[in-house]
Amino acid sequence: MPPVQVKGEVLSLKPVGDYYAMTVVASGIAEQTRPGQFVAVAVSGDNGAMLLRRAFSIHQVADRGVYGGTVEFVFAVHGKGTAWLASRRPHDPIDVVGPLGKPFKLPAQPANCVLVGGGYGAAPLFMLSEALRRRGCRVDFVLGAANADRLFGALDAKRMAASVAFTTDDGSYGEQGVVSDVLPEVIERTRADVVYACGPMAMLAAVHQVAADSYNGQGIPTQLAVEESMACGVGVCMTCVLPVIGDDGETRMSRSCIDGPVFAGDRIRWDALGTVPSDALGAAAMVAH
Protein backbone atom coordinates (compact mmCIF):
# COMPACT_ATOMS: atom_id res chain seq x y z
CA MET A 1 0.00 0.00 0.00
CA PRO A 2 1.38 3.42 -0.88
CA PRO A 3 1.51 6.24 1.68
CA VAL A 4 -1.58 8.43 1.93
CA GLN A 5 -2.26 12.05 2.67
CA VAL A 6 -4.91 12.47 5.35
CA LYS A 7 -6.67 15.68 6.33
CA GLY A 8 -7.05 14.43 9.87
CA GLU A 9 -7.94 15.87 13.21
CA VAL A 10 -6.04 16.27 16.47
CA LEU A 11 -7.43 13.81 18.99
CA SER A 12 -5.13 14.74 21.86
CA LEU A 13 -1.94 16.61 22.71
CA LYS A 14 -0.22 15.59 25.93
CA PRO A 15 2.96 16.97 27.48
CA VAL A 16 5.38 14.12 28.23
CA GLY A 17 8.37 15.42 30.18
CA ASP A 18 9.98 18.01 27.92
CA TYR A 19 8.10 16.69 24.89
CA TYR A 20 4.62 16.51 23.45
CA ALA A 21 2.78 13.42 22.26
CA MET A 22 0.17 14.20 19.61
CA THR A 23 -2.48 11.69 18.59
CA VAL A 24 -4.11 12.31 15.26
CA VAL A 25 -7.16 10.68 13.71
CA ALA A 26 -5.66 9.58 10.43
CA SER A 27 -7.46 6.65 8.97
CA GLY A 28 -5.47 4.89 6.28
CA ILE A 29 -2.09 5.49 7.91
CA ALA A 30 -2.47 3.48 11.12
CA GLU A 31 -3.51 0.30 9.35
CA GLN A 32 -0.32 -0.02 7.35
CA THR A 33 2.32 1.40 9.70
CA ARG A 34 5.33 -0.75 10.57
CA PRO A 35 7.88 0.08 13.29
CA GLY A 36 10.42 2.72 12.26
CA GLN A 37 8.20 4.45 9.71
CA PHE A 38 7.35 8.13 10.03
CA VAL A 39 4.74 10.74 9.24
CA ALA A 40 5.30 14.11 7.55
CA VAL A 41 3.09 16.75 9.13
CA ALA A 42 2.16 20.07 7.53
CA VAL A 43 2.43 23.07 9.85
CA SER A 44 0.95 26.58 9.84
CA GLY A 45 -2.27 25.69 7.98
CA ASP A 46 -3.29 25.58 4.32
CA ASN A 47 -2.26 29.19 3.73
CA GLY A 48 0.53 29.36 6.29
CA ALA A 49 4.01 30.70 5.65
CA MET A 50 5.85 27.51 6.69
CA LEU A 51 5.75 25.24 3.66
CA LEU A 52 7.95 22.34 4.69
CA ARG A 53 6.55 19.30 6.40
CA ARG A 54 7.98 18.17 9.72
CA ALA A 55 8.90 14.49 9.93
CA PHE A 56 8.29 12.49 13.10
CA SER A 57 8.69 8.78 13.78
CA ILE A 58 5.47 7.05 14.58
CA HIS A 59 5.25 6.16 18.27
CA GLN A 60 1.98 4.23 18.41
CA VAL A 61 -0.95 3.42 16.16
CA ALA A 62 -4.44 2.14 16.83
CA ASP A 63 -5.98 0.88 13.65
CA ARG A 64 -9.56 0.69 14.87
CA GLY A 65 -11.86 1.97 17.58
CA VAL A 66 -14.42 4.73 17.79
CA TYR A 67 -12.16 7.20 15.97
CA GLY A 68 -11.01 4.89 13.22
CA GLY A 69 -7.26 4.73 12.85
CA THR A 70 -5.12 6.97 15.03
CA VAL A 71 -1.42 7.76 14.86
CA GLU A 72 0.71 9.13 17.69
CA PHE A 73 4.01 10.92 17.30
CA VAL A 74 6.30 12.71 19.73
CA PHE A 75 7.99 16.04 19.24
CA ALA A 76 10.01 18.70 21.03
CA VAL A 77 9.44 22.40 20.45
CA HIS A 78 12.54 23.44 18.50
CA GLY A 79 11.25 26.30 16.35
CA LYS A 80 8.18 28.00 14.93
CA GLY A 81 6.82 24.88 13.23
CA THR A 82 6.88 22.70 16.32
CA ALA A 83 5.59 25.64 18.41
CA TRP A 84 2.61 25.78 16.03
CA LEU A 85 2.07 22.05 16.53
CA ALA A 86 2.22 22.47 20.31
CA SER A 87 -0.53 25.12 20.08
CA ARG A 88 -3.01 22.75 18.39
CA ARG A 89 -6.06 21.70 20.34
CA PRO A 90 -8.33 18.66 20.06
CA HIS A 91 -10.48 18.71 16.88
CA ASP A 92 -8.13 21.12 15.10
CA PRO A 93 -7.50 19.97 11.53
CA ILE A 94 -4.08 18.53 10.77
CA ASP A 95 -2.60 17.34 7.49
CA VAL A 96 -0.51 14.17 7.76
CA VAL A 97 1.23 12.06 5.10
CA GLY A 98 2.30 8.54 5.95
CA PRO A 99 3.38 5.98 6.67
CA LEU A 100 6.69 6.89 5.04
CA GLY A 101 10.10 5.30 4.80
CA LYS A 102 11.61 1.89 5.28
CA PRO A 103 10.77 0.20 8.61
CA PHE A 104 13.17 -1.69 10.87
CA LYS A 105 14.06 -5.14 9.58
CA LEU A 106 13.10 -7.90 12.00
CA PRO A 107 15.07 -11.09 12.74
CA ALA A 108 13.65 -14.09 10.88
CA GLN A 109 14.42 -16.31 13.92
CA PRO A 110 14.05 -15.39 17.62
CA ALA A 111 17.04 -13.27 18.64
CA ASN A 112 18.26 -11.21 21.58
CA CYS A 113 17.68 -7.56 20.73
CA VAL A 114 18.95 -4.41 22.43
CA LEU A 115 16.91 -1.30 21.66
CA VAL A 116 18.72 2.01 22.19
CA GLY A 117 16.94 5.34 22.23
CA GLY A 118 18.25 8.87 22.65
CA GLY A 119 15.74 11.45 23.92
CA TYR A 120 12.45 11.33 22.05
CA GLY A 121 14.27 9.33 19.39
CA ALA A 122 13.13 6.40 21.53
CA ALA A 123 9.57 6.91 20.22
CA PRO A 124 9.55 4.23 17.46
CA LEU A 125 11.22 1.60 19.66
CA PHE A 126 8.05 0.61 21.52
CA MET A 127 6.16 -0.57 18.44
CA LEU A 128 9.37 -2.30 17.45
CA SER A 129 9.61 -3.97 20.85
CA GLU A 130 6.08 -5.34 20.49
CA ALA A 131 6.82 -6.68 17.02
CA LEU A 132 10.04 -8.33 18.22
CA ARG A 133 8.37 -9.93 21.21
CA ARG A 134 5.61 -11.34 19.02
CA ARG A 135 8.42 -13.10 17.15
CA GLY A 136 9.77 -14.58 20.36
CA CYS A 137 12.72 -12.21 20.63
CA ARG A 138 14.24 -11.08 23.92
CA VAL A 139 14.14 -7.27 24.21
CA ASP A 140 16.37 -5.13 26.45
CA PHE A 141 16.31 -1.35 26.42
CA VAL A 142 18.92 1.34 26.84
CA LEU A 143 17.43 4.82 27.09
CA GLY A 144 19.49 7.96 27.39
CA ALA A 145 18.92 11.70 27.41
CA ALA A 146 20.36 14.98 28.62
CA ASN A 147 18.29 14.80 31.83
CA ALA A 148 15.38 12.96 33.43
CA ASP A 149 12.73 15.18 31.78
CA ARG A 150 14.07 14.28 28.37
CA LEU A 151 14.01 10.53 28.86
CA PHE A 152 11.14 9.24 26.81
CA GLY A 153 9.13 6.09 27.52
CA ALA A 154 10.84 4.93 30.72
CA LEU A 155 7.70 3.26 32.10
CA ASP A 156 6.80 1.55 28.84
CA ALA A 157 10.33 0.27 28.51
CA LYS A 158 10.25 -1.18 32.03
CA ARG A 159 6.95 -2.86 31.29
CA MET A 160 8.02 -4.34 27.96
CA ALA A 161 11.65 -5.27 28.33
CA ALA A 162 13.64 -7.93 30.15
CA SER A 163 15.84 -5.10 31.44
CA VAL A 164 16.26 -1.36 31.03
CA ALA A 165 19.41 0.70 31.49
CA PHE A 166 19.06 4.47 31.79
CA THR A 167 21.69 7.14 31.29
CA THR A 168 21.50 10.91 31.62
CA ASP A 169 24.18 13.46 30.87
CA ASP A 170 23.64 15.12 34.25
CA GLY A 171 23.02 11.96 36.26
CA SER A 172 19.47 13.07 37.18
CA TYR A 173 18.19 9.58 36.33
CA GLY A 174 20.04 6.30 35.87
CA GLU A 175 23.76 6.33 35.29
CA GLN A 176 25.53 9.55 34.52
CA GLY A 177 26.88 9.31 30.99
CA VAL A 178 25.70 8.38 27.52
CA VAL A 179 24.07 5.24 26.12
CA SER A 180 27.26 4.00 24.50
CA ASP A 181 28.93 3.93 27.94
CA VAL A 182 26.59 1.22 29.21
CA LEU A 183 25.88 -0.55 25.92
CA PRO A 184 28.93 -2.88 26.00
CA GLU A 185 27.82 -4.31 29.34
CA VAL A 186 24.22 -4.73 28.12
CA ILE A 187 25.31 -6.52 24.95
CA GLU A 188 27.50 -8.87 26.94
CA ARG A 189 24.97 -9.54 29.71
CA THR A 190 22.05 -10.21 27.36
CA ARG A 191 24.11 -12.11 24.77
CA ALA A 192 22.69 -9.65 22.24
CA ASP A 193 22.43 -10.68 18.58
CA VAL A 194 21.38 -7.30 17.17
CA VAL A 195 21.17 -3.64 18.22
CA TYR A 196 18.38 -1.31 17.14
CA ALA A 197 18.72 2.42 17.71
CA CYS A 198 17.12 5.77 16.99
CA GLY A 199 18.44 9.15 18.00
CA PRO A 200 20.89 11.89 17.00
CA MET A 201 23.57 10.98 14.48
CA ALA A 202 26.45 11.23 16.97
CA MET A 203 24.68 8.76 19.24
CA LEU A 204 24.03 6.39 16.35
CA ALA A 205 27.69 6.53 15.37
CA ALA A 206 28.76 5.65 18.92
CA VAL A 207 26.18 2.84 19.18
CA HIS A 208 27.29 1.39 15.87
CA GLN A 209 30.93 1.46 16.98
CA VAL A 210 30.13 -0.37 20.23
CA ALA A 211 28.14 -3.01 18.34
CA ALA A 212 30.94 -3.44 15.80
CA ASP A 213 33.53 -3.88 18.58
CA SER A 214 31.42 -6.35 20.59
CA TYR A 215 32.32 -10.03 21.03
CA ASN A 216 36.02 -9.20 20.76
CA GLY A 217 35.59 -7.41 17.48
CA GLN A 218 33.37 -10.01 15.83
CA GLY A 219 30.55 -7.48 16.05
CA ILE A 220 26.78 -7.71 15.71
CA PRO A 221 24.52 -6.01 13.17
CA THR A 222 22.74 -2.71 13.83
CA GLN A 223 19.50 -1.28 12.46
CA LEU A 224 19.59 2.49 12.87
CA ALA A 225 16.87 5.07 12.25
CA VAL A 226 18.49 8.39 11.29
CA GLU A 227 17.12 11.87 11.98
CA GLU A 228 18.07 13.86 8.85
CA SER A 229 16.13 17.04 8.26
CA MET A 230 13.64 16.70 5.43
CA ALA A 231 11.53 19.06 3.34
CA CYS A 232 9.01 16.75 1.67
CA GLY A 233 9.38 13.30 3.25
CA VAL A 234 8.17 11.61 0.06
CA GLY A 235 11.38 11.42 -1.98
CA VAL A 236 11.22 14.36 -4.35
CA CYS A 237 13.19 17.20 -2.73
CA MET A 238 16.63 15.54 -2.35
CA THR A 239 17.51 17.44 0.82
CA CYS A 240 17.70 14.57 3.37
CA VAL A 241 20.64 12.70 1.83
CA LEU A 242 23.54 10.95 3.51
CA PRO A 243 26.34 8.78 2.08
CA VAL A 244 25.24 5.12 2.10
CA ILE A 245 26.90 2.05 0.60
CA GLY A 246 24.58 0.15 -1.74
CA ASP A 247 24.28 -3.59 -2.42
CA ASP A 248 26.75 -3.12 -5.29
CA GLY A 249 29.36 -1.66 -2.92
CA GLU A 250 29.02 1.82 -4.37
CA THR A 251 28.42 4.86 -2.15
CA ARG A 252 25.46 7.02 -3.10
CA MET A 253 23.93 10.14 -1.57
CA SER A 254 20.79 8.28 -0.45
CA ARG A 255 17.53 9.85 0.61
CA SER A 256 16.78 9.08 4.25
CA CYS A 257 13.03 9.43 3.54
CA ILE A 258 12.84 6.74 0.83
CA ASP A 259 15.97 4.60 1.28
CA GLY A 260 15.75 5.06 5.09
CA PRO A 261 15.17 6.30 7.70
CA VAL A 262 16.32 2.87 8.88
CA PHE A 263 19.67 1.76 7.55
CA ALA A 264 21.91 -1.16 8.42
CA GLY A 265 24.70 0.50 10.42
CA ASP A 266 27.45 -1.04 8.29
CA ARG A 267 26.05 0.68 5.18
CA ILE A 268 26.40 4.23 6.50
CA ARG A 269 29.62 6.04 5.60
CA TRP A 270 30.45 7.18 9.14
CA ASP A 271 33.76 8.59 7.89
CA ALA A 272 31.98 11.01 5.57
CA LEU A 273 28.78 12.14 7.30
CA GLY A 274 27.84 15.70 6.37
CA THR A 275 30.05 15.55 3.29
CA VAL A 276 30.01 13.99 -0.15
CA PRO A 277 32.85 11.46 -0.12
CA SER A 278 35.06 11.72 -3.19
CA ASP A 279 34.31 8.10 -4.16
CA ALA A 280 30.51 8.59 -4.07
CA LEU A 281 28.60 8.06 -7.30
CA GLY A 282 28.67 11.33 -9.20
CA ALA A 283 31.09 13.14 -6.88
CA ALA A 284 33.58 13.59 -9.71
CA ALA A 285 31.01 15.55 -11.73
CA MET A 286 30.71 18.12 -8.94
CA VAL A 287 34.21 19.45 -9.54
CA ALA A 288 32.98 21.23 -12.66
CA HIS A 289 30.42 23.29 -10.75
Partner: protein, 355 residues
Amino acid sequence: MADVTIRTSADATPPADVDMTVDLAGFEAIDPVFTASGCAAAGRELAAFNDLRAIGGVVTKSIQLAPRSGRPTPRMAETPSGMLNSIGLQGPGIDSFLDNDLPWLADNGVCAVVSIAGSSVDDYAKLTTRLRGQPVSAIEVNISCPNVEDRGQVFACDANASAAVISAVRRNTPTGVPVFAKLSPDVTDIVEIARSCVDAGAHGLSLINTTLGISIDTTTLRPILAGVTGGLSGPAIRPMALRCVWQVHAALPDVPLMGIGGIRTGADALEFIAAGASGVQVGTVIFNDPTAPQRISRELRVALAERGIDRLRDAIGIAHRPPQIAVPEDADPPGDELADPPPLPRTVHFEEASS
Protein backbone atom coordinates in the same frame (compact mmCIF):
# COMPACT_ATOMS: atom_id res chain seq x y z
CA MET B 1 -8.63 34.52 -29.60
CA ALA B 2 -12.31 34.64 -28.72
CA ASP B 3 -13.69 37.56 -26.79
CA VAL B 4 -14.65 36.62 -23.30
CA THR B 5 -17.28 38.20 -21.18
CA ILE B 6 -16.30 37.85 -17.56
CA ARG B 7 -19.17 36.95 -15.36
CA THR B 8 -19.30 37.37 -11.62
CA SER B 9 -18.78 34.38 -9.39
CA ALA B 10 -22.46 34.39 -8.49
CA ASP B 11 -23.05 32.94 -11.95
CA ALA B 12 -20.86 29.89 -11.24
CA THR B 13 -21.40 26.99 -13.61
CA PRO B 14 -20.35 23.39 -13.03
CA PRO B 15 -16.74 22.95 -14.10
CA ALA B 16 -17.18 19.69 -15.98
CA ASP B 17 -17.00 21.13 -19.45
CA VAL B 18 -14.08 23.56 -19.23
CA ASP B 19 -11.66 22.86 -22.08
CA MET B 20 -8.30 22.70 -20.30
CA THR B 21 -6.22 21.69 -23.33
CA VAL B 22 -3.41 23.94 -24.31
CA ASP B 23 -0.99 24.20 -27.23
CA LEU B 24 2.61 24.42 -26.08
CA ALA B 25 4.34 25.10 -29.40
CA GLY B 26 2.90 21.99 -31.00
CA PHE B 27 2.74 19.85 -27.86
CA GLU B 28 -1.00 19.55 -27.27
CA ALA B 29 -1.24 19.13 -23.50
CA ILE B 30 -4.52 17.89 -22.04
CA ASP B 31 -4.06 20.15 -19.02
CA PRO B 32 -1.97 23.27 -18.33
CA VAL B 33 -0.56 22.09 -14.99
CA PHE B 34 2.89 20.47 -14.87
CA THR B 35 5.26 19.59 -12.06
CA ALA B 36 8.28 21.90 -11.97
CA SER B 37 11.77 20.57 -12.51
CA GLY B 38 13.55 19.50 -9.34
CA CYS B 39 10.36 19.22 -7.33
CA ALA B 40 9.03 15.91 -8.59
CA ALA B 41 12.17 13.81 -9.20
CA ALA B 42 11.17 11.82 -12.32
CA GLY B 43 7.53 11.55 -11.33
CA ARG B 44 7.39 8.08 -9.83
CA GLU B 45 7.25 9.12 -6.16
CA LEU B 46 4.25 11.37 -6.82
CA ALA B 47 2.18 8.66 -8.47
CA ALA B 48 1.02 7.60 -4.99
CA PHE B 49 -0.61 11.02 -4.59
CA ASN B 50 -1.69 12.05 -8.11
CA ASP B 51 -2.99 10.61 -11.34
CA LEU B 52 -0.11 12.00 -13.37
CA ARG B 53 -1.94 11.24 -16.63
CA ALA B 54 -4.61 13.77 -15.65
CA ILE B 55 -2.18 16.72 -15.54
CA GLY B 56 -0.17 18.20 -18.39
CA GLY B 57 2.87 16.17 -17.47
CA VAL B 58 6.02 15.87 -15.42
CA VAL B 59 8.98 18.16 -15.98
CA THR B 60 11.83 15.93 -14.83
CA LYS B 61 14.64 16.91 -12.53
CA SER B 62 17.39 18.29 -14.77
CA ILE B 63 19.30 15.46 -16.43
CA GLN B 64 23.01 15.72 -17.06
CA LEU B 65 25.42 13.53 -19.04
CA ALA B 66 27.11 11.96 -16.00
CA PRO B 67 25.72 10.98 -12.61
CA ARG B 68 26.05 13.76 -10.03
CA SER B 69 26.23 13.31 -6.27
CA GLY B 70 24.95 16.79 -5.49
CA ARG B 71 26.30 18.98 -2.71
CA PRO B 72 26.83 18.22 0.99
CA THR B 73 24.04 18.88 3.51
CA PRO B 74 22.46 21.09 4.78
CA ARG B 75 20.88 21.60 1.38
CA MET B 76 17.70 23.33 2.49
CA ALA B 77 16.50 26.20 4.65
CA GLU B 78 12.90 27.18 5.24
CA THR B 79 12.22 30.90 4.70
CA PRO B 80 9.00 32.93 5.01
CA SER B 81 6.54 31.48 2.48
CA GLY B 82 9.39 29.78 0.71
CA MET B 83 12.61 27.85 0.94
CA LEU B 84 16.21 27.97 -0.17
CA ASN B 85 17.73 24.92 -1.79
CA SER B 86 21.24 24.06 -2.77
CA ILE B 87 20.97 20.49 -4.03
CA GLY B 88 23.61 20.76 -6.73
CA LEU B 89 21.58 18.93 -9.39
CA GLN B 90 21.94 15.48 -7.85
CA GLY B 91 20.95 12.98 -10.49
CA PRO B 92 21.62 9.60 -12.05
CA GLY B 93 22.88 10.83 -15.43
CA ILE B 94 21.33 10.37 -18.85
CA ASP B 95 22.05 6.62 -19.19
CA SER B 96 20.21 5.67 -16.04
CA PHE B 97 17.46 8.18 -16.84
CA LEU B 98 16.84 6.60 -20.26
CA ASP B 99 17.02 3.07 -18.82
CA ASN B 100 14.82 3.58 -15.77
CA ASP B 101 12.97 6.86 -15.45
CA LEU B 102 11.78 7.77 -18.93
CA PRO B 103 10.40 4.25 -19.63
CA TRP B 104 8.44 4.42 -16.37
CA LEU B 105 6.81 7.69 -17.45
CA ALA B 106 6.02 6.31 -20.91
CA ASP B 107 4.69 2.99 -19.59
CA ASN B 108 2.36 4.86 -17.27
CA GLY B 109 1.07 7.22 -19.93
CA VAL B 110 2.62 10.31 -18.33
CA CYS B 111 3.78 13.12 -20.63
CA ALA B 112 7.48 13.74 -20.07
CA VAL B 113 9.02 17.16 -20.41
CA VAL B 114 12.70 16.38 -20.04
CA SER B 115 14.81 19.05 -18.39
CA ILE B 116 18.44 19.02 -19.44
CA ALA B 117 21.40 20.77 -17.83
CA GLY B 118 25.08 20.98 -18.71
CA SER B 119 28.35 22.69 -17.98
CA SER B 120 29.17 23.51 -21.59
CA VAL B 121 27.31 24.13 -24.84
CA ASP B 122 28.51 20.74 -26.04
CA ASP B 123 26.94 19.00 -23.00
CA TYR B 124 23.52 20.34 -24.01
CA ALA B 125 24.02 19.27 -27.64
CA LYS B 126 24.99 15.74 -26.58
CA LEU B 127 22.07 15.44 -24.18
CA THR B 128 19.62 16.53 -26.87
CA THR B 129 21.02 13.95 -29.27
CA ARG B 130 20.44 11.25 -26.67
CA LEU B 131 16.74 12.18 -26.55
CA ARG B 132 16.17 11.34 -30.22
CA GLY B 133 13.66 8.56 -30.65
CA GLN B 134 12.63 8.79 -26.99
CA PRO B 135 9.08 9.35 -25.68
CA VAL B 136 9.57 13.05 -24.95
CA SER B 137 6.72 15.60 -25.16
CA ALA B 138 9.02 18.60 -24.89
CA ILE B 139 12.53 19.55 -23.82
CA GLU B 140 13.12 22.19 -21.18
CA VAL B 141 16.61 23.62 -21.22
CA ASN B 142 17.85 24.55 -17.76
CA ILE B 143 20.35 27.28 -18.56
CA SER B 144 20.77 28.38 -14.92
CA CYS B 145 24.04 26.45 -14.79
CA PRO B 146 27.63 27.70 -14.63
CA ASN B 147 29.48 27.56 -17.93
CA VAL B 148 32.88 25.98 -17.26
CA GLU B 149 34.13 27.44 -20.53
CA ASP B 150 33.41 30.96 -19.30
CA ARG B 151 34.76 31.10 -15.71
CA GLY B 152 31.56 29.68 -14.31
CA GLN B 153 29.36 32.47 -15.65
CA VAL B 154 25.75 31.27 -15.59
CA PHE B 155 24.41 30.80 -19.14
CA ALA B 156 21.02 32.29 -18.28
CA CYS B 157 22.56 35.57 -17.17
CA ASP B 158 24.03 36.32 -20.58
CA ALA B 159 22.01 36.70 -23.78
CA ASN B 160 24.75 35.33 -26.06
CA ALA B 161 25.55 32.35 -23.86
CA SER B 162 21.83 31.53 -23.57
CA ALA B 163 21.46 31.74 -27.34
CA ALA B 164 24.50 29.52 -27.89
CA VAL B 165 22.97 26.77 -25.75
CA ILE B 166 19.55 27.04 -27.39
CA SER B 167 21.07 26.97 -30.91
CA ALA B 168 23.06 23.84 -30.02
CA VAL B 169 19.94 22.18 -28.64
CA ARG B 170 17.83 23.14 -31.65
CA ARG B 171 20.40 21.75 -34.12
CA ASN B 172 19.99 18.36 -32.47
CA THR B 173 16.33 18.42 -31.46
CA PRO B 174 14.20 15.54 -32.63
CA THR B 175 11.56 16.71 -35.13
CA GLY B 176 8.29 17.79 -33.60
CA VAL B 177 9.63 18.17 -30.05
CA PRO B 178 9.28 21.75 -28.81
CA VAL B 179 12.17 23.31 -26.92
CA PHE B 180 11.50 25.55 -23.92
CA ALA B 181 14.29 27.66 -22.43
CA LYS B 182 13.97 28.08 -18.66
CA LEU B 183 15.09 31.55 -17.67
CA SER B 184 16.60 32.92 -14.49
CA PRO B 185 15.04 36.02 -12.91
CA ASP B 186 18.48 37.13 -11.71
CA VAL B 187 19.09 39.36 -14.74
CA THR B 188 18.73 43.05 -15.48
CA ASP B 189 16.38 42.64 -18.43
CA ILE B 190 14.58 39.32 -18.73
CA VAL B 191 12.98 40.38 -22.02
CA GLU B 192 16.41 40.69 -23.61
CA ILE B 193 17.33 37.12 -22.63
CA ALA B 194 13.89 35.86 -23.67
CA ARG B 195 14.21 37.47 -27.09
CA SER B 196 17.69 36.09 -27.56
CA CYS B 197 16.52 32.54 -26.75
CA VAL B 198 13.57 32.83 -29.12
CA ASP B 199 15.81 34.21 -31.88
CA ALA B 200 18.10 31.21 -31.32
CA GLY B 201 15.19 28.87 -31.93
CA ALA B 202 13.45 28.30 -28.61
CA HIS B 203 9.80 27.43 -29.28
CA GLY B 204 8.74 28.52 -25.84
CA LEU B 205 10.01 29.85 -22.51
CA SER B 206 9.67 28.68 -18.92
CA LEU B 207 9.60 31.54 -16.41
CA ILE B 208 11.12 31.49 -13.81
CA ASN B 209 13.87 29.49 -12.16
CA THR B 210 14.70 30.19 -8.50
CA THR B 211 16.34 33.44 -7.45
CA LEU B 212 19.51 33.40 -5.34
CA GLY B 213 19.29 33.90 -1.60
CA ILE B 214 21.12 33.29 1.66
CA SER B 215 19.90 32.36 5.12
CA ILE B 216 22.05 32.67 8.23
CA ASP B 217 21.79 30.57 11.37
CA THR B 218 21.55 33.11 14.19
CA THR B 219 22.95 30.63 16.72
CA THR B 220 26.13 29.70 14.86
CA LEU B 221 26.20 32.97 12.87
CA ARG B 222 27.12 30.98 9.77
CA PRO B 223 25.18 30.43 6.54
CA ILE B 224 22.66 27.60 6.97
CA LEU B 225 23.32 26.03 3.57
CA ALA B 226 26.55 24.10 3.01
CA GLY B 227 26.63 25.73 -0.40
CA VAL B 228 26.17 29.19 1.22
CA THR B 229 23.77 30.49 -1.46
CA GLY B 230 20.63 28.69 -2.55
CA GLY B 231 17.71 29.09 -4.90
CA LEU B 232 14.68 30.79 -3.35
CA SER B 233 11.33 29.31 -4.33
CA GLY B 234 7.76 29.23 -3.09
CA PRO B 235 4.97 31.81 -2.77
CA ALA B 236 7.56 34.40 -1.64
CA ILE B 237 8.70 34.78 -5.28
CA ARG B 238 5.28 34.62 -6.95
CA PRO B 239 4.89 38.36 -7.68
CA MET B 240 8.38 38.45 -9.18
CA ALA B 241 7.63 35.42 -11.37
CA LEU B 242 4.35 36.93 -12.43
CA ARG B 243 6.09 40.17 -13.37
CA CYS B 244 8.54 38.22 -15.57
CA VAL B 245 5.70 36.41 -17.33
CA TRP B 246 3.88 39.71 -17.77
CA GLN B 247 6.88 41.49 -19.30
CA VAL B 248 7.85 38.66 -21.62
CA HIS B 249 4.29 38.06 -22.81
CA ALA B 250 3.89 41.77 -23.50
CA ALA B 251 7.07 41.77 -25.59
CA LEU B 252 6.63 38.37 -27.28
CA PRO B 253 2.88 37.68 -27.29
CA ASP B 254 3.11 34.75 -29.73
CA VAL B 255 5.65 32.75 -27.73
CA PRO B 256 4.09 30.09 -25.47
CA LEU B 257 5.15 30.52 -21.85
CA MET B 258 5.21 28.18 -18.89
CA GLY B 259 4.59 30.19 -15.72
CA ILE B 260 6.50 29.03 -12.64
CA GLY B 261 6.99 30.52 -9.20
CA GLY B 262 5.15 29.98 -5.95
CA ILE B 263 1.89 28.63 -7.35
CA ARG B 264 -0.04 27.13 -4.45
CA THR B 265 -3.69 27.22 -5.59
CA GLY B 266 -5.78 27.24 -8.75
CA ALA B 267 -6.27 30.98 -8.30
CA ASP B 268 -2.49 31.44 -8.25
CA ALA B 269 -2.26 29.46 -11.49
CA LEU B 270 -4.99 31.64 -13.00
CA GLU B 271 -2.91 34.73 -12.24
CA PHE B 272 -0.11 33.32 -14.40
CA ILE B 273 -2.50 32.36 -17.20
CA ALA B 274 -4.01 35.84 -17.12
CA ALA B 275 -0.50 37.35 -17.22
CA GLY B 276 0.27 35.42 -20.39
CA ALA B 277 1.33 31.89 -19.50
CA SER B 278 -0.10 29.02 -21.56
CA GLY B 279 0.91 26.43 -19.00
CA VAL B 280 2.02 26.50 -15.38
CA GLN B 281 4.43 24.45 -13.32
CA VAL B 282 4.03 23.78 -9.63
CA GLY B 283 7.11 23.07 -7.56
CA THR B 284 7.76 23.91 -3.94
CA VAL B 285 4.07 23.47 -3.05
CA ILE B 286 4.53 19.76 -3.74
CA PHE B 287 6.75 19.54 -0.65
CA ASN B 288 3.88 21.02 1.35
CA ASP B 289 1.14 19.03 -0.38
CA PRO B 290 2.14 16.06 -2.54
CA THR B 291 -1.34 16.06 -4.09
CA ALA B 292 -0.88 19.67 -5.26
CA PRO B 293 -0.47 19.06 -9.04
CA GLN B 294 -3.90 17.47 -9.43
CA ARG B 295 -5.51 19.69 -6.81
CA ILE B 296 -4.31 22.86 -8.53
CA SER B 297 -5.50 21.58 -11.89
CA ARG B 298 -8.93 20.93 -10.37
CA GLU B 299 -9.03 24.31 -8.66
CA LEU B 300 -8.01 26.08 -11.87
CA ARG B 301 -10.82 24.36 -13.74
CA VAL B 302 -13.32 25.49 -11.12
CA ALA B 303 -11.88 29.02 -11.11
CA LEU B 304 -12.31 29.26 -14.88
CA ALA B 305 -15.84 27.88 -14.74
CA GLU B 306 -16.78 30.33 -12.00
CA ARG B 307 -15.76 33.15 -14.31
CA GLY B 308 -17.72 31.74 -17.23
CA ILE B 309 -14.56 30.90 -19.17
CA ASP B 310 -15.09 27.56 -20.87
CA ARG B 311 -11.75 27.37 -22.67
CA LEU B 312 -8.48 27.87 -20.81
CA ARG B 313 -6.93 29.21 -24.01
CA ASP B 314 -9.28 32.18 -23.93
CA ALA B 315 -7.84 33.29 -20.60
CA ILE B 316 -4.19 33.34 -21.69
CA GLY B 317 -2.90 36.90 -21.38
CA ILE B 318 -6.37 38.22 -20.63
CA ALA B 319 -5.03 40.64 -18.01
CA HIS B 320 -3.21 42.56 -20.76
CA ARG B 321 -6.48 43.46 -22.46
CA PRO B 322 -8.55 46.52 -21.55
CA PRO B 323 -10.71 46.03 -18.48
CA GLN B 324 -14.02 44.36 -19.15
CA ILE B 325 -17.12 45.20 -17.21
CA ALA B 326 -18.79 42.32 -15.50
CA VAL B 327 -22.08 41.86 -17.32
CA PRO B 328 -24.77 39.65 -15.84
CA GLU B 329 -25.72 36.86 -18.23
CA ASP B 330 -29.29 38.10 -18.55
CA ALA B 331 -28.51 41.76 -19.03
CA ASP B 332 -32.05 43.04 -19.43
CA PRO B 333 -34.12 42.15 -16.39
CA PRO B 334 -37.59 43.71 -16.65
CA GLY B 335 -37.92 47.12 -15.07
CA ASP B 336 -34.22 47.98 -15.09
CA GLU B 337 -34.43 50.12 -18.15
CA LEU B 338 -37.01 52.72 -19.07
CA ALA B 339 -37.97 52.72 -22.71
CA ASP B 340 -39.17 56.29 -22.50
CA PRO B 341 -37.41 58.17 -19.73
CA PRO B 342 -39.63 60.99 -18.51
CA PRO B 343 -38.14 64.45 -18.96
CA LEU B 344 -38.68 65.42 -15.33
CA PRO B 345 -38.87 63.47 -12.08
CA ARG B 346 -42.32 62.37 -11.08
CA THR B 347 -43.80 63.82 -7.93
CA VAL B 348 -43.68 61.41 -5.02
CA HIS B 349 -46.27 61.58 -2.25
CA PHE B 350 -45.37 60.36 1.23
CA GLU B 351 -47.53 58.85 3.92
CA GLU B 352 -46.99 57.51 7.47
CA ALA B 353 -45.65 54.00 7.45
CA SER B 354 -48.24 51.61 8.87
CA SER B 355 -47.08 49.10 11.45
